[in-house]
């Protein structure tokens, strides 16, 4: 490896870590829903992309600044999150783990097809902030728009952690997550907490969708499935239900993806990410921050 290779490898890692913020946001959504309901919502990434698409409606009616588009994406994400809960969870027997899993698979495909039928599958431009800003540090460059995505992602995570650990809603959410029956006996409405969890994770998803659109500069229905897989990988590596784990895992997967791309090429890149997933499943099934498994 010569000097230029080294520079490129570090640059790839940095770009990947910055983009990994979006994976972290998706991972948080997956993990939060799992934490509260012990269910996997497979439609989460598709709903996030759907929210980003919905935000483009603002541009259709007015010349809106990108910040407003992002806010609309967050709001649309919240609405879609609520709808996903109503369709995919509210009336489905929660005791049957397969039922909700399949209902969210159905929702994933449904949201995807709605996007495809609305846009004919044509990629659409998505606004970005600071896309023309390049920060140079010696031989390295950092994209302004990715830095912005990173900052927004970090802010979201901070707000979410504050919400969970510093508010009554957060206490209720954690109570339902840990002891739903006891929480109900204490007067907490499990249904309300569940729907609020979906709305909040939907808002985070909407922001993730908008940030993904801003980072790529475009939206395409092609994004839903790969992002679903990435979100799940991040959730497992981070540890199901662990928000700090999802954050670190998102950045890790984003960075490693680019590093594997650099060293091994596109045909092997995803192979190594999946191998990493299996390594975690075997040696650290509880995720990054889980206690080391003891002997049975």
């Amino acid at each position: 490896m010569d000097y230029l290779d080294f520079i490129d490898a570090v640059q790839s890692l940095a770009d990947g870590v910055l983009f990994g913020t979006t994976y972290a946001l998706l991972g948080i959504g997956f993990t939060l829903i799992f934490g509260v309901m012990h269910k996997i919502n497979l439609s989460y990434a598709a709903a996030s992309i759907g929210a980003a698409y919905a935000s483009l409606l603002v541009l259709a009616v007015m010349k809106a600044p990108p910040a407003l588009v992002f806010l609309v994406a967050a709001a649309a994400g919240g609405v879609i999150g609520g709808v996903v809960y109503l369709i995919g969870f509210r009336f489905i027997p929660l005791a049957n783990p397969l039922a909700t899993l399949m209902s969210t698979v159905g929702l994933l495909l449904l949201i995807d097809e709605i996007i495809v039928h609305t846009t004919q599958g044509v990629p659409l431009n998505y606004p970005a902030l600071f896309s023309d800003v390049i920060i140079r540090a010696g031989p390295f460059t950092l994209r302004g728009d990715l830095m912005f995505v990173f900052l927004i992602g970090c802010t979201c995570m901070a707000v979410l952690l504050t919400l969970l650990y510093r508010t009554r809603l957060g206490i209720a959410t954690r109570a339902v997550s840990q002891q739903p029956t006891a929480a109900q006996l204490c007067g907490i409405s499990v249904d309300n907490v569940n729907v609020l969890t979906f709305v909040i994770t939907g808002v985070v998803g909407g922001i993730a969708g908008a940030m993904i659109g801003a980072a790529i500069g475009m939206l395409s229905p092609l994004l839903s499935l790969p992002l679903t897989v990435k979100g799940l990988v991040v959730t497992v590596i981070g540890g199901l239900g662990s928000i700090p784990g999802a954050i670190i895992a998102g950045l890790l997967v984003g960075g490693l993806e680019n590093v594997f791309q650099f060293f091994r090429g596109v045909s092997e890149r995803d192979l190594y990410i999946m191998l990493l997933l299996f390594v975690f499943l075997v040696f650290r099934p509880g995720g990054i921050f889980a206690a080391a498994p003891g002997r049975d």
């Binding site: 044509v122 990629p123 896309s131 994209r143 790529i216 475009m218 790969p226 596109v266």
Partner: protein
């Protein structure tokens, strides 16, 4: 009594006035198209359907098609969705073949065509081959050489080999100063991957030194690593064999990293409105060979007609448009009856008629035919000011 007779007479007159003689009843020939109408390639199916309907409307308004018994018929178009999935494509084609249809138009995706043509009878008339005996003419599936798979398979798609061969030869004469080329390819898409092989071979054949290639997947979201390699190669030409979503992603990343090759070459499928919608600014100057542009009165009219039916005319949908006129000619020449009891015979006649074609009339001029494939005229377009502008017509 008189009153009753008068009423009966009046009723009889009304009945006669509204009845139509059987002989004058209008016949309908249903042509079924199929392709991707869901999923990310839905736009191809939407455009093909619009083109088939637009062409059918033109034919119908000028009297329709003359059948083997001398009667006139109007075309009716039906379009089925195969989701760009090989299994569904085969299932859809079998469903069409189980009806009175004597030909089908499609599919969109090369992977579907490859599998589907494989279930057709390989050699027509071979009694030992129980493959499906049903003529299919493809409008979009562009991977080279697919019609070779079966004698029941036909295509009206341009030859990308010929297009890029001509383009690189032309570039050699126009830009003799350009010596090196770097490629970019969407590795997991049959069409992009196959066409990149053609581009690379033609570049080398014309004396260009290939400095390397960047690879990505159809749904990739970041291209920084690949573009950095591209920047290091510092080639005179960058050739991108990818569909609009990743083509735009790569072009935007090239702009961010300041990669400015002297010449950009793109994939045929990217000479579409999608690229202009996605990254007109970054695509400025990219040269793409295409078999369709609204440069003749027929092509301009066709583009308008397709737009009226909710589609967009491009090199793929224009092929579907032309196919309707090819089918009309073959039906008339082969005296196809289009009746339920002549289905098997009509299919054979259609196959033989299509196989016998040596030349058809396309929207850009005469289209030669050999080995059930089209030899279409083409031109080079380049992105200029947010639209596709004709750069050069090799035939002229």
């Amino acid at each position: 009594m008189l009153k009753r007779i008068a009423v009966l007479a009046a009723l009889g007159t009304v009945a006669l006035a509204f009845s139509t003689p059987v002989s004058a009843q209008e016949r309908t020939v249903k042509i079924t198209g199929f392709g991707a109408k869901s999923g990310v390639v839905r736009i191809f199916g939407v455009n093909s359907e619009a083109a088939l309907k637009a062409a059918a409307e033109v034919i119908n308004s000028s009297g329709g098609v003359t059948l083997g018994d001398g009667s006139k018929a109007k075309f009716a178009i039906e379009f089925l969705d195969d989701r760009c999935n090989a299994e569904e494509g085969i299932s859809v084609a079998r469903r069409i073949a189980s009806t009175d249809a004597f030909v089908a138009v499609g599919p969109t995706c090369s992977n579907v065509a490859e599998s589907l043509f494989g279930v057709l009878q390989k050699k027509a008339g071979d009694a030992s081959d129980t493959g499906l005996q049903f003529p299919i003419i493809a409008d979009v599936a562009a991977k080279g050489g697919l019609a070779k798979i079966s004698e029941w398979a036909f295509r009206n798609v341009p030859s990308e080999f010929d297009m890029y061969k001509s383009l690189f030869a032309w570039l050699k004469t126009q830009h003799p100063d350009l010596k090196t080329i770097y490629g970019g390819v969407e590795k997991d898409f049959a069409h992009s991957n196959a066409t990149f092989g053609v581009m690379k071979a033609q570049a080398e054949a014309n004396g260009l030194q290939v400095l390397g290639q960047g690879e990505w997947l159809l749904a990739d979201t970041t291209f920084s690593t690949q573009v950095r390699e591209m920047r290091r190669a510092n080639a005179d030409i960058v050739a991108i064999s990818a569909h609009p979503f990743t083509t735009c992603g790569v072009l935007k990343e090239m702009e961010r990293q300041g990669v400015r090759p002297k010449l950009l070459i793109g994939l045929t499928s990217s000479s579409s409105i999608e690229t202009m919608q996605g990254c007109a600014k970054q695509a400025e100057g990219i040269i793409i060979p295409t078999s369709f542009a609204p440069v003749t009165p027929e092509a301009t009219k066709a583009a308008e007609n397709v737009a009226k039916h909710g589609g967009s005319a491009d090199l793929h949908s224009a092929a579907a448009y032309e196919i309707m006129f090819i089918l009309k000619d073959v039906i008339e020449k082969q005296k196809i009856m289009a009746k339920p009891d002549t289905v098997a015979a009509d299919r054979v006649k259609m196959r033989e008629g299509l196989a016998a074609l040596k030349e058809t009339m396309g929207l850009l001029g005469k289209v030669g035919r050999a080995d059930r494939e089209a030899i279409k005229p083409f031109l080079y377009v380049h992105a200029k000011g947010g639209s596709w502008v004709v750069l050069h017509k090799p035939a002229s």
